[in-house]
Symmetry: D3
């Protein structure tokens, strides 16, 4: 069970597809982290957890690619963390505490952001349980700045902070096509970076990681804006949806222990295509990991 | 000539590109079937025939790919069927009657939906004239459910109903990437299904069909939502526009006798890109089939 | 308690503000009826119940105008009726059965449509319990046609059907500014109609109705489209939001037994202003009636 | 009949409500003038004639306010003038020639713009037949500049040009709430201007005009942008739709000989509320003038 | 001159109408404060200063209502404060410091928000110079909560904080139509509140204030969402644009020393009508105060 | 320095990324040409230069692909040409004069349109300085009509006019997938055309051009509308963003002397993806050419 304290931080407004209400038997827990106050360009990703759950009803629970069905597994939708808007420090602490509590009970957390900074407390919580944690980041941006406008806690710096936790050689950056020269230099020393490459380096990444426990953080802007217009900082020239879905399938034989999807921004979406894609990504992740 | 009775069911509000007003010499007839009341998620495809005609003016009448021009052929735009909103049974009967009447006069019908259920009465009418009819369905969804929410007449069941008319081994399902396990099992026994494949199986499909008369039904959601956001139930991970257009060209040496384009939904489109693509698809179909 | 049979027809996806989960103590029940298949122009009102609940969080639970707070009353959100898309007859029967069941337990129903046809089964159910029921309709359209495109069950005919149930002199039509000459003639004989008038005839309407039990059906298009763009058939020249809210307050000393809000259509809204207004209307209705 | 020469300048893409195809018996002719190349801010009004006709189907043909029905009058929809995009001079000449030809046959022209400059050739044509023509302009902007960015033929100068044709004391400017000090000074000498006033000066304007033949030119931006967002240069603070409709009714006992509606811009509209209002305005004008 | 230190906090991206570049002779200074991280519902007001300046070109510099022209006054556009995204405390300090510096040089500041919290540091800076400062707030919401989700620095609490600075009887709240019972009780003791009233209480407010120096803070949501859809928390039932503009004119004979316009949110606007209105409000404020 | 005369034609409203204010040391000059009056379908590209500059802030100044940074080069943003709306002839003359003046000072011009007609005066100016100029056009449309609706100066004819300046064998048309049979015939004789091909013919084009000076004109509609919905005449079936960016990189070893990007139309964009792509294209062009 979630501790009483943690349960009080959560609210359930709607739920993902046919999520179970049986906490005990659920190995996977969906969590919403609607924090977006460090967005540097267009905020609004706070509405992603709600909208992704809403549009999930357009999907089947069965995945043809995986030949597997959500009906056959138990997954719990814990709702969203109630965050103090504008208070970054306290928000990060809350996210970490909730994640820690879920992990204590032996579950995997599948988190819906929010902006990319939410991955930091999640990875912190995971690192407590898995000290050889590897992190796979799929993202258009390196997010390796030391600080952004003087702030070290920003979605533009989140992977820099992550490397400080997981250590050198533990971050794998895929699909990156935007960054500063300084970030590229930092990556050369501290992470494995694969600029503008995704599906084509799956094998290589898997070989490097081996059996280490893996946390996947997926910034939806790794896709070309044609496929994911609903995001805060669209960056032209990325992968397409099919490649991303195939990539997620290819990683399934790694030892995936956690997953998040961040930076979906419904206010800039149209026809809900980014949110619907987000829901499909979450379904595939639940079925595959 | 259309029978007086059928003519009374039709209204012409606008017309496709330079459609001829010469019924006698036209071998091809454009027909609008603005029915969308069985849509399970977002309705609104009733506006597709009007909008597709409207935006057709952005196109040339000449196709570079086909080196052929609409000016050189006669095609008639019969307008839209006036449907009793909300009455599914009567609407289906009307569509079938109009199609039957056009076919009786030796024409081919190129229908603009409406939701996918409109293909049922059209294929019924065709099957009367072509009893060895093969049907090629390009679609993100299998549409093979026995019923949906208790309804057997739904766009989610239309291909199940079609198989009941044309018989086993006569339905070819391309591009399907969403369905239930039951639908997949049904397909395995009753249709030829090519999950998530389109252009790459053109040759195989053509070999299987041979010289049978072919009806093509194209659900625009076979495309990735990036290319066709204006649809009711977008499903991430599909083909791109160019692949679809090439596929249509590749099928041209089959014995195509009928064609429909369904599930374009202008209210969820942006910049009219789905409708403009729909108009281009119709132009290519008129020139190629 | 709701009967088991009725409960099975309902699903809860999200809920309105701080709705209670205590059926017994709740005198008021919110019900969603997401039916829109008889819409003559733009469908999509099926999404209104979900969206209105979603945006309700932008509101306070306290109403300054009424000096009253939702925290101080118990109201239950029963969720939405699961409808067979495209089957009008069965849908109407389901709505009536559910409403009947709620009324049997001595509650008032506050229904969110859906298109205007949903008011028919609701009023039928109410008429069973209140045989001297008066109906106040606020609407841009008379909805008094005998049939529409041959259909007698259409949102364009709903008030004609209602007069057939409640009898002459029991329907009060306010704000009407669109109709045919035939409808106006019918109204002259069978209803009290106040073309293009709302707030200014409150006193007169109240005098005519006296202590009869009253059902209020509010078509959001009674407002000028500036205030409620998110609707299927916008009609220029209506009331503003403040006048409508004041009208709802003025009617509070009538014996209101039921209420519905119909024709909100989120796909044509912008900035959710129509849905947010819808949520405020529902709050005021819950507090006042 | 229209001259052959003029007929060749016209194309019919769709038509307004139940417009007659009987030229001879029609006293009123609808004409589209899709010219928008002199727009100073946002172009796109060229699409207004098409869209206004399209959405006209949402309206009844009967007007409750006027107790009159389009079914009972004959009005002809002549379609749109085919204009040479970008060639202002030639476009103006074409519009004048077509209008002249229609007037020669004793009809009244009801023109849908296009930007406001189209009123110039129309008023020129009218002035030829009615040399004591009075012009009522309802508009947020004075449009009295001598030139705009060096151009004398601009929508920002059109009423200055009109005064040069009809002479001093023949232009009545209502609702104006934007202009330069120079324009106000010019108006003081050459026109009757009623800043920010519309319905409240109806009586005064009618008294001033008496039995002179009147041309009404209605720039949709006379309304507050809440009621007509779909326009090129929205100006906050105007009238509401109901006031405008009432004003049109009040002017009906003048000797109205011509009417145009300009500056509707569908690309900046939402939910088509501006186009639907435009269609209602045209219906009321046809029934009243 | 601005201090070097303050100048370094500012960036100029675009400018308002014909703003002067002559600091010395300018008595009025436009300042952008693009902070929106405490928004409780929809963020995005950070883009308002840029967009309002952009669309200002649609306006004349002359105001018909005031018979006065921006050409005849000198006003300086200082650009936007460069804020550390997500750091509320530091952002507030920066805004206060910049405002203090401008006031030190004897200018008036006209600030474009940003969310409503930006008014707090501005009023702090003003209070330093004017210790009998009165504050007129036009707003749909009371903003008098002690805290919101545990945060005392939130746009929902800003006026509570303001009363703590200016003292009892110095805050005048107009147009308020949303709040909790607690806020109403607080207002009863500490501020003058005029629920749902604006123009009609102008005289009363002016009498109460007399010759005290006045800071006006205008939350655009005081208007009905029809007139200002582009805002974070639209609240149905407010004033119209014309009433607001008249109110601004009526207050001109008070001793106005500062002004801000907050909560314009371009991402939720359409046709830029809220931003264009914002630009007009700023023009009128510059001309009148 | 720019001549005084030319400088007077220009206005700076906002600027591209970190553009230098040092004219002397800048080898590259950004110029906006906001002309869109010859658009045949949807106008509005006049807003592209402003919007592309606005959204450029979402980009890094460093390009990972080119390993090069805008910080390390000097480029000047000259602002936009102030054009007489609606006057095609004079507008073209102004553009040519300004370009000529910039070229006289030994700079390269990087122009943001506007519709495609703006390339004509630019290429005229370039041809004066480079009489063996080759032109690479990437475009969905051939733009080789002799005239359009009787106008020889139209965006649909611009490349025909260009061939008349640069002579046969000097125009290289890539990505073309729309045109008339006449245009194809003209191309066969006068230009090198590569229908529907882009990246795959880079080598061939480069071989044909050799060391001739090259002007690149890029119509954004060369991309599939999924990647660039914000354009006037979307044509389904084009390249994707990544292919286009790679193509721009591949051409870098040619002798590029000028570049323009045309037909971006922000009003039809969504989530600014087309403008953001436009900004990235301009960054890559500045860094590569």
């Amino acid at each position: 069970m979630l501790s009483l304290r943690t349960a009080a931080y959560l609210e359930k407004k709607n739920k993902f597809l046919g999520a179970s209400s049986d906490w005990e038997n659920s190995k996977q827990v969906i969590l919403g982290a609607p924090m977006d106050y460090t967005a540097s360009f267009r905020p609004g990703s706070r509405f992603a957890p709600y909208r992704i759950r809403e549009v999930s009803e357009v999907l089947e629970e069965y995945s043809i690619s995986l030949n597997n069905c959500l009906d056959d597994i138990d997954y719990y939708d814990a709702g969203d963390i109630i965050l103090p808007f504008g208070n970054v420090e306290k928000s990060l602490a809350l996210i970490e505490e909730v994640a820690h509590d879920i992990l204590s009970d032996g579950k995997k957390v599948f988190t819906l952001g929010g902006d990319h900074l939410i991955s930091l407390p999640l990875i912190k919580a995971y690192h407590f349980f898995y000290n050889d944690l590897a992190v796979i980041q799929m993202d258009a941006h390196a997010d390796l700045r030391f600080d952004y406008m003087g702030q070290t806690m920003s979605h533009a710096c989140v992977m820099r902070r992550v490397t400080e936790i997981v250590g050198d050689g533990s971050l794998f950056q895929l699909g990156v096509r935007s960054g500063t020269a300084e970030e590229m230099a930092y990556a050369a020393e501290h992470s494995f970076i694969f600029p503008d490459q995704l599906l084509e380096v799956a094998g290589q990444v898997k070989k490097l990681i081996g059996r280490r426990p893996v946390y996947i953080t997926l910034d939806i802007d790794v896709l070309d804006p044609a496929f994911a217009p609903g995001t805060g900082t669209p960056e032209a020239g990325g992968a397409d949806s099919r490649q991303l879905l195939q990539m997620l399938h290819k990683l399934a034989d790694l030892h995936i222990v956690g997953f998040d999807l961040v930076e979906v921004c419904p206010a800039h979406d149209h026809s809900d295509i980014t949110s619907i894609l987000g829901a499909k990504i979450l379904r595939e992740a639940l079925l595959a990991y």
